[in-house]
């Protein structure tokens, strides 16, 4: 077993522990790395309960593009090779929204705050789910945006942004996340 696979296995063991606890526990004591593992897991959950048009049968990986740089050199690598439907997840790093290609998800890092307008315009009416973890980004058009409240990792949803795209998140996600723009 290589190092990557071992890491993946460990991360999910943590996830199981995490799931055993009520809510999305996010203790202050946890490290930056743990935080992004937790965020990765939630990205995976959101993706599971979201539908893309013409999703099944495509002979290519389910691509999550990371636009910009994650703080502290973090990554979403824990999601590599996990399945969404019958497609394996692959993580790519892009620096410009134009590089998005056929990626199903784009994680917009805080570093891209200045290009946010252009990004939201670019994905408008496209089958691209936009996720971020930067305060205020939801209001500015990102569909799902993680935030920490009372040591719990939560997310908010820009419903308008969702409805202006071609993706369809499970309705029950709206009951879990906080709606920022209806």
């Amino acid at each position: 077993m290589d190092k990557k696979s071992l890491k993946f296995l460990l991360s999910f063991t943590v996830l199981l522990v995490f799931f055993a606890a009520p809510g999305f526990l996010c203790a202050q004591s946890i490290t930056m790395e743990d935080e992004y593992v937790l965020k990765s897991v939630n990205i995976f959950r959101i993706c599971k309960f979201t539908e893309w048009p013409n999703f099944s049968g495509l002979d290519r990986p389910f691509t999550i593009a990371v636009l910009g740089d994650l703080p502290g050199n973090q990554n979403l690598g824990i999601l590599e090779d996990r399945l969404i439907g019958d497609r394996k997840i692959t993580i790519t790093k892009i620096n410009d929204i134009e590089e998005l290609g056929s990626s199903e998800v784009v994680f917009v890092c805080a570093s891209e705050e200045d290009k946010l307008d252009a990004i939201t315009r670019y994905v408008l009416n496209k089958a691209v789910l936009t996720i971020s973890d930067t305060e205020g980004f939801a209001e500015k058009g990102i569909m799902f945006n993680f935030y920490i409240e009372e040591n719990f990792l939560k997310f908010e949803i820009n419903r308008e942004a969702v409805e202006n795209s071609l993706v369809k998140p499970h309705s029950r996600l709206y009951t879990i996340g906080k709606i920022v723009k209806d």
Binding site: K48, F49, T175, I176
Partner: protein, 852 residues
């Protein structure tokens, strides 16, 4: 149970049946309805829970995945809208309770999950489980428990409702059904009671009164109609019974009064029933006595028990026995003949039940048959005797031809010495006597065979008597006897009777008188008694009795011999033992007398003479009816004026040629002889005889062929041909004539026959003295019935055989064939035999040929 039901009264059956049917139908309807309700309830509950569970499953996926217990509770609480739900729980993928709702039974997850079915109804509760899935991934399990108390309550409510309905229905049907039952059962009971009453009282005039026009009404009509028919049938049967009774009485009377014995008996041989006639037949007073005493037919009735066995065998195999004759014992042990006509009566399996039939006492018939047989045997014997005598006579007559012929020839020789003449006279007399004897025998056989008929015609009685007197005078004078004829004045000269027979009787009587009288006189007296000539001559056939009496003073006849004198072949031997003649003369005389419906009597005293009296009925005749008797000539010589007459004698027998040649030479003919037909032709051509005497049967060339050829020779038609044959059997007279014969003479011939035939030649003329000719016998009338047509009933083959037998002269075979003719017609057979006995062979042959 079924039997109990079957024996119930119709009313009870109907009530029970009606209520049972209503009850079953109602219960069935309610049960179906109840089950339907339960199913509806359950289906409804399941549908509601399934619908809600589906929503919960879908909605809880995200909550489970994000471990959002709050959302999970919210989602699960939607079950509160279903009042039956007691509690629910969602288990996550790790089988740990995620959220729960209400009160869930304290049962482990494992227990819950081992429920076999998705839905289970148990103990007033319904258990429901479903997996929580999203896009093929299982997130957990939803388990719901619902109460079905409502359902139980509904069921109990329904049962209560059902009972109430049943009670109501029962009450309603009790009242309604009762009246309905009455409307059906009462008419039936009424019918039943009426039928019972009719059955008990036997009164078929009772009728049921129809109430409704329904099927029972129709049944009433049919019942009444049936009663009508029964009454009619009863009346008919009563009539038939009376007829049967009458019939039985009638047949009983026939049975009781029948003259034939009627019986029924078992196959084992015991009589069951006999009628009085049968009992009487066997000598018993009553049928009862007979039935009591006769217990075994075989031993007590049958004389020959094998006969009984044969009767048994036949009736068993043929079923019917007709005219079965047997001998039987009567009560007194005497034997009678019985004839049994019986048949076997069998059951449907063909087993013999009994025999029944009639018995007839045929003892008298049997005796009569035996007598008839004896009589027939006697007659046959007599006939055989007659035939034998006739044949013998015929055989004797043939050589007599030579004897008499030569004697007559030699007597013509005037140069004979006296002693030779005497010797020749003796030979001739002896021959004549022998011929006479034969003729007598033949005559007698003819009489006995009934072949002599009377020839009634008018004749001169006086002349005949005088002629007789002349005839016998020579002989009487030779014995120095006084012969006198006394014709009484009242005796008519012309009478109507059979002259020949009367003459023959008188010849016999006078001959005997002279023969047996040594001295004294012989008187022939005539007389008439019972003179009825004053009456109508034409109508009085027996107008008087002619009496002719011959008295003599001869040796007489002893009283004991008087009865014998008229019997055939008997002679009364007088004291001097004279015994000459055939002994048939008086027998023939008496037969003739009888034929003429008269009688011949004798009265005599030994040594004093006899009186024979012939009495015959006769009537006076008319002189104009008298036919002159033919005369036969005693030819002496040819008349002087006659020239040379050449006669050719043709015969293969030298003696025959010799006799003919000598007779004819004596008279003056020129004679040449030929041995056969061929030689005769040569002589004829060379010598040209005026007369030919032609034998028929000859070697080389027979007479027929010779005659045919002579007739063809120039001048042959001028010649008189006289055919002479000993056996007419092989020669047909007609054929002989057809071959050219002018005359036909049979052997043995008398010389006068030859002369008569020759005299027909125009050139021939004799010098002769006349001699009265005896009257020929006539063919009996009955023979005239024999015609060729009457013989057509005989088969052609038989006719041909008889014809062949005649031609070949095989008389024995001919007689055999004639016996077989009896099978076809007895009378014809007898008549044909008559012809044979009479030597009428040519007549017979003509008949056969015409018939064939």
């Amino acid at each position: 149970m079924i039997k109990y039901y079957q024996n119930l009264s119709i009313r009870k059956k109907y009530t029970l049946g009606f209520h049972t049917v209503v009850l079953i139908a109602t219960i069935a309807a309610l049960v179906v309805l109840g089950i339907k309700n339960i199913q509806t309830f359950r289906t409804n509950l399941i549908a509601r829970i399934e619908a809600t569970a589906g929503v919960i499953s879908t909605n809880s996926v995200v909550a489970i995945d994000f471990n959002d217990v709050t959302q999970g509770r919210i989602i699960l609480s939607s079950l509160k809208d279903i009042p039956e739900v007691i509690g629910a729980v969602i288990y996550n993928i790790d089988e740990e309770e995620f959220v729960s709702f209400g009160s869930v039974p304290d049962v482990s997850f494992d227990r819950q999950m081992t429920l076999d079915e998705k839905i289970l109804f148990e103990d007033d509760q319904m258990y429901f489980k479903t997996l929580i899935e999203y896009q093929g991934e299982v997130y957990g399990t939803l388990f719901i428990v619902a109460s079905t108390e409502n359902l139980s309550k509904q069921i109990w409510d329904f049962i209560g409702f059902t009972l109430i309905v049943l009670v109501i229905i029962f009450v309603v049907t009790f009242f309604l059904g009762g009246s309905l039952t009455n409307s059906i059962t009462e008419p039936v009971l009424n019918l039943s009671n009426t039928a019972l009453k009719i059955s008990n009282e036997g009164d078929y005039s009772i009728r049921v009164n129809k109430i409704y026009d329904d099927e029972i009404g129709t049944l009433y009509d049919s019942f009444n109609n049936m009663l009508d028919q029964i009454a009619a049938k009863n009346s008919e049967i009563s009539g038939l019974n009376n007829s049967l009774l009458e019939s039985e009485q009638k047949y009983r009377r026939i049975f009781e009064n029948a003259t034939e014995g009627i019986y029924q008996s078992t196959p084992e041989g015991r009589f069951l029933t006999v009628n009085p006639a049968l009992a009487k037949m066997f000598g018993y007073g009553t049928p009862e006595e007979f039935l009591t005493e006769i217990t075994d037919v075989k031993t007590q009735i049958y004389v020959d028990q094998n006969t009984h066995n044969e009767f048994h065998d036949r009736i068993k195999s043929e079923n019917t026995v007709r005219d079965f004759e047997s001998r039987a014992y009567k009560k007194d042990g005497s034997i009678i003949y019985i004839s049994d006509n019986s048949h076997a009566v069998r059951d449907k399996n063909s087993k013999i039940l009994y025999f029944e039939g009639t018995l007839e006492d045929i003892t008298e018939k049997k005796k009569s048959e035996e007598l008839t047989l004896a009589k027939e045997a006697a007659e046959a014997a007599s006939k055989a005797k007659s035939t034998f005598l006739a044949n013998i006579s015929h055989e004797i007559r043939t050589p007599m031809n030579a004897i008499l012929g030569y004697t007559q020839l030699m007597q013509r020789d005037t140069d004979l010495k006296d002693e030779h003449k005497k010797a020749l006279d003796t030979v001739n007399r002896s021959g004549e006597h022998l011929l006479e004897l034969i003729n007598d025998v033949l005559e007698m056989t003819k009489i006995e065979a009934g072949r002599i008929s009377v020839d009634i015609k008018t004749f001169d009685l006086h002349s005949m008597l005088e002629d007789l007197e002349r005839m016998f005078r020579v002989r009487s004078e030779a014995k120095l006897l006084d012969l006198s004829l006394n014709i009484e004045k009242s005796t008519p000269r012309y009478i109507v009777s059979d002259e020949s027979k009367i003459r023959q009787v008188l010849v016999n009587l006078l001959g005997n008188a002279i023969k047996f009288t040594k001295k004294g006189s012989i008187i022939l007296d005539t007389g008439v008694t019972e003179d009825g000539r004053n009456g109508d001559k034409d109508q009085l056939r027996h107008s008087f009795i002619l009496s002719l009496e011959v008295k003599d003073t001869g040796i007489g006849i002893s009283e004991k011999d008087l009865d014998l004198v008229f019997k055939s072949f008997e002679q009364a031997i007088g004291d001097e033992g004279i015994r000459t003649g055939s002994g048939l003369g008086l027998a023939i005389s008496r037969k003739y007398a009888h034929l003429l419906e008269g009688e011949i009597k004798v009265s005599s005293k030994l040594g004093e003479g006899s009186v024979f009296t012939l009495e015959i009925p006769a009537r006076e005749g008319n002189p104009s009816d008298v036919t002159e008797p033919a005369v036969k000539k005693r030819v002496l010589t040819l008349a002087e004026e006659v020239g040379e007459i050449r006669v050719l004698v043709v015969d293969d027998q030298e003696s025959n040629r010799d006799i003919l040649a000598k007779i004819l030479k004596e008279v003056g003919f020129l004679i040449r002889e030929a041995e056969d037909g061929l030689e005769s032709l040569k002589i004829f051509e060379e010598w040209r005889p005026q007369i030919v005497l032609m034998d028929i049967k000859m070697p080389v060339m027979d007479g027929k062929e010779a005659m045919r050829r002579i007739r063809k020779i120039r001048g042959g038609d001028q010649t008189v041909i006289i055919a002479i044959t000993a056996s007419v059997l092989s020669e047909e007279e007609a054929e002989v004539f057809a071959c050219g014969a002018d005359y036909f003479i049979r052997k043995p011939f008398r010389d006068f026959e030859i002369f008569e035939a020759i005299e027909n030649h125009p050139e021939v003329q004799f010098i002769s003295y006349d001699q009265e000719r005896t009257t020929d016998e006539k063919v009996p009338d009955k023979l005239s019935k024999l015609t060729p047509d009457s013989l057509t009933i005989l088969p052609d083959e038989l006719l041909e055989k008889m014809s062949n037998a005649l031609h070949s002269g095989n008389y024995d075979h001919l007689i055999e064939l004639l016996n077989s003719v009896e099978e076809y017609d007895k009378e014809i057979a007898e008549n044909l035999k008559e012809l044979v006995v009479r030597f009428e062979y040519n007549t017979l042959l003509n008949l056969l040929n015409d018939a064939n």
